[in-house]
């Protein structure tokens, strides 16, 4: 049974708050989608998120089903795309949070550079 709501771990939720404070994003969902993309290009191994609360209804998060279709393309064998999406979002946010931990400010260059790094990270923060 796929998920009907996408959740974030508490640290990731807190980091999304920081991203919003940076003024780069108009909505939290946009930050979450960027995190998902970063996890995808990092070819993160798929898994389960532990301790994620409810953040967005999938209908709101993926209003036109675009993300679900993307999951179908990238992970054709997966039958619970939103569960995968939640995992990727949390993984990506952890990557971003780690990279920004000691930074004086969060900017575009720093975030997009993460997608160019070859490091693979496996599990999201619990």
């Amino acid at each position: 049974m796929d998920k009907v709501a996408i959740g974030l771990t508490a640290p990731n939720d807190q980091f999304v708050g920081q991203l919003m404070e940076s003024g780069l994003f108009g909505q939290e969902m946009e930050a979450a989608k960027l995190a998902m993309s970063i996890a995808i290009v990092k070819k993160s191994s798929l898994g389960d998120v532990q301790g994620a609360g409810t953040k967005w209804n999938v209908g709101s998060f993926d209003r036109d089903g675009q993300l679900k279709r993307l999951m179908g393309v990238l992970y054709p064998t997966v039958d619970e795309p939103y569960r995968v999406m939640e995992f990727l979002i949390n993984t990506g946010l952890k990557i971003m949070a780690d990279a920004c931990r000691n930074a004086s400010n969060i900017d575009v260059r720093r975030l997009l550079a993460l997608a160019e790094s070859a490091r693979d990270l496996s599990a999201p923060r619990a």
């Binding site: 279709r69 393309v73 260059r109």
Partner: protein
């Protein structure tokens, strides 16, 4: 000509007790040497005090009399001071005495002193009014700057090159006074008044006569109107003069705040820049926020591109396989039909056994492909995936995001530097009274606006005055035609005053021009003797008697050193002495401080040409005694030295 014979001081400044300088009767130079803080400037002021009752300190400020008396004497209970000047003017002998004695002891302020002055002429004491009148003839205070001066005063002559300078205007008026121009300007003024009086008399006489009553009344009305306009023009000119003075005064005041004013202007500009920067930042951040909504697609871009290529290749291979399968099926069916009919499906010939065998082999070959499984469904899935990827094309680019970030970063750096500069300015202006600066600036702007209005008013009134004068002349002409013999006397008087006024007016212009030419020629003569620079050709004079140095190339030297300023000022002094009806001694305090040895030597050499009696107050390193003796020769008449007795006690000792 005024010639000094001696000066006696009693407890004047550092000159404790009674001390005297006696000047030789023959033309030449007297040198008084004194190191710094010994009392040279006080000695210069002793002459000034004797002549005008004033002691001028630095910045041309007047020193209170309470501070003039000798301190040591004061501590010994002796207060007050006395100066006595012996001089001749023409064939007459004068003794001028000024005494300042305490009204109560110890005196605390100027109010605690009584001031007395006496002038005796050939041993007869003059009354107070006579004293004032005589002194104003012998040495008017307003031209004293040409006889008593120091380096600070010499520096002011540069102001003559600036049209708007109030100091320059004051000096110009003083120059014209010493050159005797008031004789003519006063005459012009007198005849102008006499002409008006005569016109009024003529009008009154005409009104009294029945034949000319109407024209007389018109004349009186026009004269009255003319007088109103004239007074109004004079009032407005006076008002404009006051406004000019006020403007210059405000500019002087603003000069003190010039640095702060520039800083306040800069701060306001920076605050405006900050606002613009904030608008830019908000705009840029809005664009970036909008673009960042696509950032996830940008990040996925390269990854999805690879995936799309794989899918496109897969779709192509599926399509090719499907085409091959369809073709094989069709060919197999056609060949089987030919075989079944025993005829070639193309040309209709009977098939021989070898041909039939070949066809059977071909059918076997194609049947492999034709029996392959259809991949149409798979193709549908691949195309669906490709379509899904197509939707993920970002509407913006990574470069655009970076560009916006760069703009934000630059803005942040600029904003930080602006804040830093504003902080610096706040620190630098911490003690500045901005409201006072703003008040002065606003007052200055108001005065400038008022000046424009008054200048317009003067033009308007002058037009009215000219118009009235023309109408008056016309009426006076009409009156001349109908008037009888009785009025002729008044008319002749008016016309004579009119002509004399015109004569004096043109004389003022001619004399002023002659004076300027003569001063320029004499100043140039002197300057070429004083300067050590052979390429300088002459001094050029302007309307204000300001002198510019002209190079042999014909170009004017625009930037002059302090030393050059002194040389030019001394040249002007010498030229004025030569052209002035009023002559006297020149007393200079430390005039060589800014001059090199070459110029010093030349100035010393020309001193006897500048005045028949020159008194120099110098320190030895400024003018070496041996150099002075060598250069001046017989023209050096006497030397004095100011000798230190204590910090507050100096003594005048004759050397030669």
């Amino acid at each position: 000509m005024l010639r000094l014979q001696s000066i006696t001081l009693e407890n004047f400044g550092p000159y404790k007790g009674r001390q005297e300088i006696v000047f030789p009767a023959t033309d030449g130079v007297v040198l008084i040497y004194g190191e710094n803080m010994r009392g040279k400037t006080t000695l210069l002021n002793a002459f000034r005090y004797a002549l005008f009752g004033k002691f001028i300190g630095r910045g041309q400020s007047q020193i209170p009399i309470h501070k003039i008396g000798n301190w040591e004497a004061g501590e010994e209970g002796v207060y007050g001071f006395k100066v006595e000047l012996n001089f001749s003017f023409g064939a007459d002998q004068y003794v001028l005495t000024r005494i300042c004695s305490p009204r109560r002891t110890p005196p605390k302020t100027d109010a605690d002193y009584d001031l007395e002055s006496f002038l005796t002429k050939n041993n007869s004491q003059l009354s107070g009014d006579q004293t004032t009148h005589t002194l104003s003839l012998i040495m008017p205070e307003d031209v004293s700057r040409f006889f008593l001066f120091d380096g600070e005063l010499l520096q002011q002559y540069e102001e003559l090159l600036r049209d708007e300078s109030s100091t320059g205007q004051e000096i110009k008026q003083a120059i014209e006074r010493i050159l005797g121009l008031p004789v003519l300007t006063n005459g012009r003024l007198d005849f102008s008044q006499l002409q008006r009086n005569a016109a009024r008399s003529e009008a009154r006489a005409a009104t009294a006569d029945n034949r000319t009553q109407l024209l007389g009344a018109q004349t009186e009305t026009l004269i009255a109107k003319q007088e109103i306009h004239r007074k109004e023009v004079a009032r407005l000119i006076g008002e404009l003069g006051r406004q000019k003075q006020a403007k210059l005064g405000l500019e002087e005041d603003l000069k003190q705040f010039e640095k702060f004013r520039a800083l306040f202007i800069e701060r306001d500009r920076l605050n405006s820049d900050l606002q613009k920067e904030e608008v830019n930042r908000t705009t840029c951040l809005g664009k970036l926020m909008e673009a960042m909504a696509e950032a996830w697609k940008i990040v996925l871009g390269p990854h999805l591109k690879e995936r799309r290529q794989d899918l496109e290749e897969l779709a192509l291979s599926i399509k090719l396989a499907e085409e091959r399968r369809a073709y094989a099926a069709k060919v197999s069916v056609d060949l089987q039909s030919s075989l079944d009919a025993g005829k070639c499906g193309t040309c209709g010939h009977e098939l021989e056994s070898t041909a039939k065998n070949a066809i059977r082999e071909r059918i076997a070959t194609y049947s492999v492909d034709s029996k392959a499984t259809s991949r149409a469904e798979e193709l549908l899935v691949v195309e669906k995936h490709l379509s899904a990827l197509q939707e993920l094309e970002p509407r913006t680019s990574r470069d655009y995001l970076f560009e916006l970030q760069e703009q934000l970063d630059q803005g942040r750096v600029h904003t930080a530097s602006i804040h830093s500069r504003i902080s610096e300015i706040l620190e630098q202006t911490r003690n500045a009274d901005e409201s006072e600066v703003r008040r002065l600036q606003s007052e200055h702007d108001r005065v400038v606006r008022d000046m424009t209005l008054v200048a317009e008013g003067i033009k308007g009134e002058q037009r009215e005055l000219d118009d009235t004068t023309l109408r008056l002349q016309k009426v006076q002409e009409d009156l001349k035609k109908v008037a009888g013999h009785d009025l002729a006397r008044f008319r002749r008087k008016r016309e004579m005053c009119q002509k004399l006024h015109a004569l004096f007016s043109s004389a003022v212009d001619v004399y002023r021009e002659k004076l300027r030419t003569d001063v320029a020629v004499d100043a140039t003569d002197l300057f070429l003797q004083l300067t050590t620079e052979p390429e300088y050709r002459e001094l050029q004079i302007n309307e204000n008697y300001g002198l510019s140095i002209v190079h042999q190339s014909g170009q004017t030297i625009t930037i002059r050193s302090a030393g050059a300023e002194h040389i030019v000022a001394l040249s002007l002094m010498g030229a004025l002495q030569k052209n002035a009806p009023l002559r006297g001694p020149i007393i200079m305090d430390s005039p060589f401080g800014r001059l090199d040895s070459g110029h010093t030597e030349r100035v010393v050499k020309t001193l006897p040409l500048m005045s028949s009696q020159a008194i120099l107050l110098v320190y030895e390193s400024e003018l070496e005694p041996d150099l002075a003796r060598g250069v001046l020769g017989d023209a050096l008449r006497r030397e004095y030295k100011i000798v230190r007795k204590s910090a507050r006690h100096s003594s005048l000792e004759r050397q030669v």
